[in-house]
């Protein structure tokens, strides 16, 4: 049996959960092993319903202590369900929270961890997986014996699963020991307050032609993001991203950060403004379909990773681009504009 752990937010499955379901289904078919899912949370009814449209058998572990993600209680409950159901493999979406407890699950269950896989294949009786290594400069194939493994799926590496029907829900009583609850989340906040400081929008949500316009140190400041990055993102119906220096400087919230210590993205069009192209950033964008870079420094490494490089000053190039896009009425063909999704990132309210 393959056990998928579903992650949700605000009563909806994360797109990354649907991507992980695609991976788990392919495993299920290749190994002839049934697929089941587990959902953790405090208020789970709606998401459980949604999940049964994708997975025929859904375990629901509902508990007040699971209202917010915390890696230790999550580890405990996932292991509890995996053991009780005899799971041979556990598949977890490779979002930040998933990556923070999947290694614990692997150690506790005595299974190898295949983290952030982008492709899964059965070779003989064994499972083999492709993943990125060396800051995404190397494709690595790893293998385990049989199916036994904990797998995290790289964000945006698998397509989102389609609904298949209506499955059933089985309630599970979470067994949480005191040692699973020793971490206090957001001390001093009561349950009605939102303790998380949400200052930014997430880049690259939704389908269609996906565009990200990102800024680096060369943008010059938060003013530069307002003058160059945000207007261009709006004009291209895209989202805003950033490298680490703007986040360190407080010009952008870290949820915008792309790279080794931020998000990995794979949009159709990635536009890099004032980004030098450090290896730690480039590894987060290598699977972008088309990369455009605008930078004053003709020797910036980002040009080696770009399809189209413009050597020039943002002050001059970006306003020109905005004028040309405006004159054309749309960045691309007009029929594409009607299909372009409303992205939730990149525009100021």
């Amino acid at each position: 049996m393959i056990l998928l752990v579903a992650h949700s937010r605000e009563g909806r499955l994360l797109p990354e959960s649907l991507q992980a379901i695609t991976a788990a289904r392919s495993l299920s078919e290749a190994f002839g092993a049934p697929l089941r899912a587990v959902l953790l949370g405090a208020d789970t009814v709606r998401v459980a319903q949604e999940l049964t449209q994708f997975v025929p058998h859904v375990y629901v572990a509902s508990h007040a202590k699971l209202a917010r993600f915390c890696s230790e209680p999550w580890t405990a409950v996932v292991c509890q369900v995996a053991r009780a159901s005899g799971a041979e493999a556990v598949v977890i979406p490779g979002v930040r929270s998933g990556l923070s407890y999947a290694p614990r699950v692997a150690v506790r269950l005595g299974m190898p961890l295949m983290d952030e896989v982008v492709e899964l294949r059965r070779v003989g009786r064994d499972l083999s997986a492709r993943r990125a290594a060396f800051l995404a400069r190397v494709n690595q194939w790893v293998a385990t014996q049989g199916l036994s493994s904990v797998i995290t799926t790289k964000v945006d590496a698998f397509p989102e699963a389609l609904s298949t029907g209506v499955g059933k829900v089985e309630a599970v009583e979470p067994r949480l020991r005191p040692e699973d609850m020793r971490v206090v989340l957001n001390p001093g906040f009561d349950a009605r307050e939102d303790p998380i400081s949400r200052t930014g929008a997430r880049p690259n949500q939704g389908g269609g032609l996906r565009t990200i316009v990102a800024g680096g140190r060369g943008v010059g400041g938060s003013e530069g993001f307002r003058r160059f990055v945000e207007p261009l993102a709006r004009a291209l119906a895209g989202a805003v991203g950033a490298t680490r220096p703007p986040v360190d400087e407080g010009w952008r919230p870290f949820v915008d950060q792309i790279g080794q210590t931020g998000r990995t993205v794979a949009p159709d069009l990635y536009v890099a403004l004032g980004i030098s192209g450090a290896a730690q950033h480039v590894c987060g964008i290598t699977h972008s379909r088309v990369v455009v870079a605008i930078n004053r420094d003709a020797g910036a490494p980002i040009f080696r990773h770009s399809d189209y490089g413009v050597v020039g000053d943002l002050e001059e190039v970006v306003p020109s681009l905005l004028r040309v896009i405006q004159a054309a009425g749309s960045p691309f063909r007009s029929e594409e504009l009607t299909e372009a999704p409303a992205l939730d990132g990149g525009t100021e309210p």
Partner: protein, 256 residues
Amino acid sequence: MAKGICILRQVVDPLGRIRVTGRRVERDAATFVLEPMDRFALEQGLRLRERGQLTELLGLAVGPLRTQTAVRAGLALGLDRGTLIDAEYDLSPIEAAGMLGVEVESEEPAVVLLGGREGEWDSTALGPALAEVLGWPHVDWVTELTMQGDRVLATHEGEEGMEVLDLPLPVVVTTQQGVGEPRRPSLAGVVAAAGKEVRMKVHPSVGGGKKEGGVRLRVLSEELYVPERLGVTLTGDPQEVAMELLGRLRRDPRLS
């Protein structure tokens, strides 16, 4: 007497060239550096010691003999002493956690620090795996850390925004970039490091060649991934460049 341990990982230089021979990344000819993300963790550790919240700060690494240079780099930056567990190079994070765990336990530190993501396995797994081996709590993507008695307050960058976690010691902390620019070694530090000992350890499970903890992950092959880029450069009058760029994007079949 609160002790801290910084995990030091040696990785192929992210700025250097990578060669593949025989379907594996060639390591003999590679240049190695201390993982840049571990330098942020080390900086965090040094600051805790400077604030008097830690009294001793050790470096701990696992890997082949060449990993000594990573430990030396940590010593030059101010670690009090260093230990290297002798092992083969391609340990998975889960295996490395098992080997590091034994040594960490024997030192009884209050806090273990390491970078949030390592750039050779491209993985965030070592921190949480080590915490699990030790049975300790773990907090990741930490930008601020304050020790208060037998607990620690950590500001962490979660999926939706900043959160504060309050954890009991001992604890494993994986850091975010940008907790302050990591310091560079001073000449005095380098000289002092030359006099400090790097203790060599052989892990009991290495001798027999078998790893504890069940099934091993095998690396089957590695190949270079080089995305094909057109590498077109546009220069000149901004208005013309803008028209040219948009025209090329419109005609690019990958965007239709």
